[in-house]
Amino acid sequence: MNGPVSGAYRELVRVTGAESIGPYTLLRVSAGGIEPGTPGQFFMLHPPGHVLPRPMSLCLVEAGDLCFLIDAIGPGTRALCDLEPGDHLHVFGPLGNGFDLTVPRPLIVGGGIGVAPFPYLIQALGEVPAILGFRSAHHAEAAALIPGADVVLDPVLVTSLLPEEPYDVLACGPEPMLEAVRQRVPEAQLAWEAPMACGYGACYGCVVEIDGRLQRLCVAGPVLRAA
């Protein structure tokens, strides 16, 4: 059985490339039979030698490859960034709920490693205005993946560039940024992250407070309405 969870497949895929973008790594794998899904959905990438996979949103689809932008923040993500062309790993997805793309005036807002889902989002939506924040010029090299984006560096906040006129905000970034966007734009779509063991509702590890109670982000999200 290859499709244990609705629409999601798990497959051993081959690494076709790994390149540095600022402090991040863009990992390319052959898609095999795995569908790219909706922007904002995520995939479980299993670092070889580790017990658990790691959730990653899809960054780009290029020439039959799925590309993931990864920040090496611990042993698991470091093992993923250390993969080399020809290596293999298990990928399972797409999982969760992505962005609602039926919005008339999309505006991308994000920062840091949270920019990861935006290139694929732009592939789906076409040219979209974007406001991105980074903690340093080195980190901001990732903005090259989102051509035409307005970029601010710490301590300037992305919310300082939010336009007054109404936009349909699609956001992904660190929690304080998403909280600030939530305050300003109640109808924004926010892509959150949480540590996950399984990614498909089995472990109850990834709960976040939604509508006043702890719910599984992997099932209810990871994209949630701000209000």
Partner: protein
């Protein structure tokens, strides 16, 4: 008749992943408590070198909502249902068993006597089993902790109190620290340790209990392959459960079932259960 495979309680939601549940011979629910529980605050999980920690804390809707809402939807999946029962006193356990007793869509009650993430009931495991035995005629399985100082003695006590079978083992209490801050990774500080590191512990517990009592044993703890499952059977298990491996690989049940058949055949066993207790003679 091959060795039945179950999911470990709290390691699968048959309603969100019915195609994973369908790979099993029965579905074991997340532990049901008398009242609804929000569970422990996040962060709830952390990977370690040879396993993982969880600190979920028995999040769930409580027995009333379970019976009215969850159970009918589970029953529609046509898998035998084992209900895992938890509580904070013998009266809690017994009360839930009484409510489950008349439900024809429940096959087995598993008593979670060993959750490392919540406060323990003041009574002994045997006293809790006795309270449940007085409340139901359903088969009762007692799920024991590998931390017990003499698990064989505990097994004898719960069987004498009326347990029909044993589930061995629950997680071990463990802790993981953030390498930079040296603070616990889990919000509650500690959690239940599971995964490959638990397998030798489970083998020892299953073996000790299989020598001590003559009841069916559900073996679980770090099963990642058919070889692991066969080893638990050799130690005395008649049913094998999969837990943490499901988080890593939702296709694991079918894979492990095929591997188990192949590993058994390679050793001349017509049925994997023919190897039961081979480690203990």
């Amino acid at each position: 008749m091959s060795a039945p495979l179950l999911n470990g309680s709290g390691c699968l939601d048959a309603l969100t992943a019915p195609d994973v549940a369908a790979q099993f011979d029965a579905f074991v629910t997340k532990t049901i408590t008398p009242q609804s529980r929000e569970g422990n605050p996040p962060v709830r999980i952390a990977e370690t070198e040879a396993g993982m920690l969880n600190s979920i804390g028995l999040q769930g809707p409580g027995i009333e909502v379970f019976l009215a809402d969850t159970l009918p939807r589970l029953a529609a999946q046509h898998l035998p249902i084992w209900v895992s029962v938890g509580g904070f006193s013998a009266a809690d356990f017994g009360g839930i068993c009484e409510l489950l007793d008349g439900r024809r869509d429940i096959d087995v009650i598993e008593l979670n006597l060993s959750c490392p993430n919540v406060d323990e009931a003041p009574e002994s495991s045997a006293q809790i089993v006795a309270a449940c035995r007085a409340s139901t005629v359903k088969p009762l399985y007692a799920k024991l902790s590998p931390s017990l100082s003499d698990i064989a003695e505990s097994a004898r006590a719960v069987v004498a109190a009326g347990a029909d079978g044993l589930t061995l083992v629950n997680t071990l209490r463990g802790m993981a620290l953030d390498s930079a801050t040296l603070r616990p990774k889990l919000a509650r500080g500690f959690g239940g340790y599971s995964g490959p590191a638990l397998k030798p512990v489970a083998l020892a517990c299953v073996s000790a209990c299989a020598r001590a009592v003559d009841v069916p044993i559900v073996g679980l703890g770090g099963v990642w392959s058919g070889q692991d499952a066969l080893e638990l059977i050799a130690a005395g298990a008649s049913v094998v459960s999969l837990g943490t491996v499901l988080f890593s690989d939702p296709t694991a049940p079918n894979r492990i079932r095929m591997e188990l058949e192949a590993e058994s055949a390679a050793r001349g066993y017509a049925d994997p259960l023919d190897a039961r207790g081979a480690a203990n003679s």
